[in-house]
């Protein structure tokens, strides 16, 4: 937007924007505040200041084990959905075959399909297939749910790539794979990064699909958090949440520095 807003319109606009910011951020700040409360229950406003809940969480075996599982799962999901989503996006944008639109709709459908149903459907299919390893099932389930995010962002950035660049590379002696690697990928790096970040975060805090596919041995963070919440709602729950929020923020900042995430998300 080049024009500056002024007058009453600007006042309304800024008020609404500020309101939205508060609406989005307040719950997060509330959680952060509750995590340092020196009390045995979650209270607001927090009473006193202590980091003992963090100390407790960081010594909690269940939580640490869940963190480890969730991070590995999210990394695997990110890799898997990129491996699947980037070529799929490429085919959707560059492909000129029958039913491109229908396939696109199908590949993006997990975005609009209720995740609870997707999870249940996956559980039944994987059971039928005799797949009993919860970790593998979780990985498959998460890739199904996160791939549409990757496809979405990569399709958007691919559409902005000048096809003449690829043609030029090919006339210069690059085959399709090298053309993709040396010319196309650098152009869509921000879209790929954004898709990857989405995949990681969506996998990391996915509850509805995870709930169906996890078991008592392999429980990712959202399940452990939920269990903790139901059992003892002490400030260790907000402490866990705060750790996750900070992780997400650091991830976003690093990607922003590396590839200009803002540009990719705005596209």
């Amino acid at each position: 937007m080049d024009e500056r807003f002024s007058g009453f319109g600007a006042f309304i606009l800024y008020t609404i924007t500020a309101g939205m910011m508060v609406f989005i951020l307040a719950p997060l700040l509330l959680v952060m505040a509750a995590s340092v409360s020196d009390s045995y229950f979650v209270t607001f406003p927090p009473q006193g200041f202590t980091l003992k809940w963090y100390a407790k969480v960081l010594q909690d075996r269940d939580f640490l084990e869940a963190m480890r599982l969730s991070i590995l799962l999210a990394l695997g999901t990110t890799a898997g959905s990129l491996l699947f989503g980037v070529p799929a996006a490429f085919a959707l944008v560059r492909g000129d075959f029958f039913g491109v639109a229908a396939i696109k709709g199908f590949l993006l459908s997990p975005l609009i399909f209720p995740a609870l149903i997707t999870g249940l459907a996956l559980l039944q299919v994987l059971n039928k297939l005799g797949s009993t390893d919860a970790r593998l099932n979780l990985l498959i389930g998460h890739i199904v749910v996160t791939s549409p995010y990757v496809i979405r962002t990569v399709v958007t950035s691919l559409q902005l790539v000048d096809e003449n660049l690829e043609d030029a590379a090919r006339t210069l002696g690059a085959n399709r794979l090298r053309t993709f690697w040396r010319v196309t990928l650098p152009q869509i790096a921000s879209g790929v990064a954004a898709g990857g970040l989405f995949a990681f975060m969506v996998s990391f805090d996915n509850y509805p699909v995870t709930m169906w596919l996890a078991n008592s041995e392999y429980s990712p963070v959202p399940l452990v958090l939920m269990r903790q919440l139901v059992n003892v709602f002490d400030p260790s729950v907000p402490a866990m949440s705060t750790i996750i929020i900070l992780m997400a923020m650091v991830g976003v900042l690093i990607l922003e520095k590396l590839v200009g995430l803002r540009r990719a998300l705005a596209a």
Binding site: D167, A168, R170, T171, G173, R182, P186
Partner: protein
């Protein structure tokens, strides 16, 4: 650089029901520069991309030095190609852009570096190697693209409207420069353009295309002076087109009756023809004041009134109207001493020309 002979044999490309290129056969001599010229949608770019290997023909073949290339993938064809929007890799510096093709060929770093610096000096950009494309002007970017295409020592150079995005002055100087370089290297070059001036300036041979078909192939002089069809006569330069029945035969020629006040003497006309279409270039017509002219009822001569007069610097354009409503366009070169237009709007004049200027259009 060795020169290649390029041959297209019955080349066609269909997209569904649309025929983009229709049965095109063409031979391009080694070292020649050929321009594919035509309006947008005539199939010239599709043709060029089939030669490059970027588009697979529906039928027909491309031969280079008698070797069939149709099934050779683009990255093995060794063609240098220039695009209208330059298509420089934005994430690479000028040097990295130019070295790209050499890296794909697995050339050693030292050899590649030497080649790159040769290429940079060839396109007069020796001090720009470390810059990124976005830091260069349009003309400089196209020079980089040229260096990148030439450094791989291509079998041929393919130009897809290469100067279309440049402004007029720069475009004209680049045309001359590119042509000189192409001659010096003796590199077979095929260019696509919709700009007739560019084709006339640069090409040894012009291929006029229309609706996917070849309309006429010839040198600039042939195409301009002896257009084979009505389309070519109108597309290349301006033309006065007249049509009428044969009124009288004289030797191998004939008199064509165009309108009550205008008849044309043509020197050659096939005996079988009962009518003819004739094109006369606007600069072949001489305009005189009505009073000065000798008797009006002669062939290749007509009374007219000046409808519009446009002063264009070294040339003036007159749009004349004959009594029966026909329009005649005349271009008259202005003499340096003379001030402005010689005839005013509304003035009665006589337009006349010599019979060799009457060119019979074979196809119309």
């Amino acid at each position: 650089m060795k020169s290649s002979e390029v041959r297209l044999e019955r080349l066609s490309k269909e997209y569904g029901r649309t025929v983009a290129v229709d049965n095109v056969s063409l031979a391009i001599e080694p070292g020649h520069m050929v321009a594919l010229l035509g309006p947008s949608g005539c199939g010239k770019t599709t043709c060029l991309r089939m030669i490059a290997g970027l588009i697979r023909p529906t039928s027909g073949d491309v031969f280079v030095n008698d070797k069939r290339m149709t099934d050779v993938p683009v990255h093995r064809r060794n063609v240098g190609m220039l695009f209208q929007n330059y298509a420089l890799f934005p994430h690479l510096t000028v040097e990295e852009n130019i070295v790209f093709g050499l890296e794909m060929r697995g050339m050693s770093k030292a050899d590649a570096a030497r080649k790159v610096s040769e290429a940079l000096s060839l396109v007069q950009l020796s001090n720009f190697g470390k810059r990124y494309p976005a830091q260069l002007s349009g003309g400089q970017q196209q020079r980089v693209a040229l260096g990148r295409a030439l450094v791989i020592e291509p079998a041929m150079l393919l130009l897809d409207e290469p100067l279309g995005a440049l402004d007029k002055g720069l475009r004209e100087s680049m045309q001359v420069e590119l042509r000189a370089l192409q001659r010096r290297l003796g590199l077979t070059t095929i260019m696509v353009t919709h700009d007739q001036d560019e084709a006339l300036t640069m090409a040894d041979k012009i291929v006029v295309m229309r609706d996917g078909k070849l309309e006429q192939v010839g040198s600039a002089t042939e195409i301009y002076q002896r257009p084979a069809s009505k389309f070519v006569a109108q597309f290349i330069g301006a033309s006065n087109l007249f049509e009428g029945p044969v009124e009288q035969r004289n030797g191998s020629g004939a008199v064509i009756r165009v309108s009550p006040e205008l008849s044309l003497q043509v020197d050659q006309l096939p005996a079988s023809a009962s009518d003819a279409m004739v094109s006369i270039r606007p600069e072949a017509i001489i305009v005189e004041r009505a009073g000065q002219a000798s008797s009006a009822q002669r062939a290749n001569s007509v009374m007219a009134r000046v409808d519009q007069a446009i002063y264009r610097g070294f040339v003036s354009h007159y749009y004349l109207r004959t009594p029966s409503g026909g329009q005649i366009i005349v271009f008259e070169q202005n003499q340096s001493q003379q001030a402005g237009l010689r005839y005013a709007v509304g003035e009665e004049v006589v337009a006349r020309w010599e019979s060799p200027s009457n060119h019979i259009i074979a196809r119309h």
